[in-house]
């Protein structure tokens, strides 16, 4: 940790040290196609909950994959804790479709990410059970994925990401396919998990209300090619006039830049 005049710079934690740093990142598919997303400069601080919103096709999910090291940016640099290497990033990924391995029981699904780590069998089991407890699915360890509801499957997906104890949780429209009630429940659960664990969360969604409800910072992507058109801090909460105003504001913002 950096020190100033011998005193510990403790504000590095409170005001948040940069965990994710994107510099001039552009993203495209295929070598000859024009880029879909350009000029992304983004610094995400430790412990923050950042939502990325924008119409479909702007490259939100791909941006998340670039941060995860699964997709290569066309230009620019990505560092996690100042480390640019794409392998072994301390991230946990949660997909929209839960994406459980159907041939593994719940507890073995949660252990997937631990199997590449130097962790004993007993320790793997302990951490998987702990992660299941975090998402309130203790008691479901021996179930097969097909026996679970959509919401439960998504909880297992979150547990699997949390089991590796990542610094960053990357979530790709994780509640997009759920019914409204389940979605609300899981949103509240995610707020709680964020509060309890202090993980940095990067959350992609096309649902503005979800973004305003969950995140403390909202990045809006738009235009062709897309770029960051707005970067707002948010504390509008869940209901009330402030919430609706914030959502409306963002909606206009996106409509202005909607040209796809």
């Amino acid at each position: 940790m950096a020190t100033v005049n011998g005193a510990p710079a403790n504000d590095a934690v409170s005001s948040g040290a940069a965990v994710i740093d994107l510099k001039n990142v552009s993203i495209g598919y295929g070598a000859d196609a024009p880029p879909v997303l350009v000029d992304v400069d983004l610094t995400v601080e430790r412990g923050s909950f950042v939502a990325i919103v924008g119409p479909s096709g702007v490259g939100k999910s791909t941006l998340l994959r670039v941060v995860a090291g699964l997709h290569e940016a066309r230009t620019g640099g990505v560092t996690i804790h100042q480390d640019p290497r794409p392998a072994h990033r301390p991230v946990g990924l949660v997909f929209q479709d839960a994406r459980l391995l159907p041939w593994r029981r719940v507890v073995k699904n949660v252990q997937l990410g631990l199997e590449g780590l130097p962790v004993s069998r007993a320790e793997r089991l302990r951490r998987a059970e702990e992660a299941l407890k975090l998402v309130r699915l203790d008691g479901y360890a021996r179930r097969w994925p097909y026996e679970l509801s959509g919401g439960q499957r998504q909880r297992v997906g979150i547990a699997r990401a949390m089991a590796v104890d990542p610094d960053i949780l990357l979530m790709d429209e994780p509640f997009g396919a759920l019914d409204a009630i389940t979605r609300n429940n899981l949103q509240d659960e995610l707020r709680r998990i964020h509060r309890e664990t202090g993980k940095t969360i990067l959350f992609v969604t096309h649902d503005l209300e979800e973004a305003v409800h969950l995140a403390d910072r909202i990045i809006v992507l738009g235009g062709t090619p897309a770029r960051v058109v707005r970067d707002v801090s948010n504390s509008a909460g869940r209901d009330g006039a402030v919430f609706r105003e914030q959502v409306e504001q963002l909606r206009l913002e996106i409509a202005d830049n909607y040209s796809i």
Partner: protein, 250 residues
């Protein structure tokens, strides 16, 4: 439908089939020499069993079958999986496969005899060949069909290297398809057993050939029934294993 109902119906079907057959044979519409009656089969079984011929033939065929089946299945799954995984290898072997594939196993009989003699090895080779192609194509399609999202999941959770990807994602994901290939091979394998033995390799097929030469059609039927039973048992056992292995499916 309940399991008991479906079992009872299957049994009823077999009994009806046998009764019809017996009726046709007894009625004299067709000469007895052409269609032996099924009631002649138990006596034929007893005489073949007492002389020890039946057991010897079953054991001989079973050993050709098991050697050929395991060799063909192992190689078929391996080559099919490899071709599905690596595009370059796939392209390299694609036309060789297209040239060899349409040649039926029995067309290889001359070479099997030249290479292995009239021996156990020749029969196993022909069975392996049949089983190989079935498993090759089944595994190829099954591995190709593995959800790409699951492969990405593997990469995201540190299981992207060849070995973990293969054993934790690709093969489990392809398993239902690979198993149906194995099952199809199980049946085709028995058909090839008979074809391979017809030219004199000791086993069920050879015994059928001998009996038909003597117009002992009831013995031919006995061995036909034997093959049917052996196939039925192997298929049944396979299904038991399969339903256990795939218990994660709905």
């Amino acid at each position: 439908m309940k399991t008991r109902t479906s079992l009872a119906l299957s049994a009823l079907g077999v009994v009806a089939f046998l009764l019809l057959w017996e009726a046709v044979a007894q009625s004299g519409i067709v000469p007895a020499r052409l269609i032996p009656s099924p009631s002649a089969v138990p006596a034929a079984f007893l005489s073949e069993f007492r002389s020890g011929t039946w057991q010897a033939m079953v054991l001989a065929s079973l050993s050709h079958y098991l050697v050929g089946l395991s060799l063909g299945a192992f190689l078929g799954v391996s080559f099919g999986t490899a071709a599905a995984l690596w595009g370059r290898w796939d392209a390299f072997q694609a036309w060789v496969v297209r040239m060899l594939r349409p040649i039926p196993a029995i067309a290889w009989i001359p070479f099997a005899i030249i290479w292995f003699g009239v021996s156990e090895g020749a029969a196993s080779f022909l069975i392996a060949l049949t089983v190989f192609w079935i498993n090759y194509y089944a595994s190829y399609a099954a591995v190709r069909g593995v959800d790409k999202d699951l492969i990405e999941l593997g990469h995201a959770f540190g299981q992207g290297g060849l070995v973990p990807r293969l054993f934790k994602i690709v093969l489990p994901g392809a398993l239902p398809g690979i198993l149906s290939g194995l099952r199809a091979g199980l049946g085709q394998g028995w058909m090839t057993v008979v074809a391979a033995e017809l030219f004199g390799i000791s086993g069920l097929g050879m015994r059928m050939m001998e009996a038909s030469g003597l117009l002992a059609t009831h013995i031919v039927v006995l061995y036909m029934v034997t093959i049917a039973l052996l196939y039925g048992v192997s298929d049944f056992l396979f299904m038991q294993v399969q339903s256990r292995v795939l218990s994660w499916q709905r």
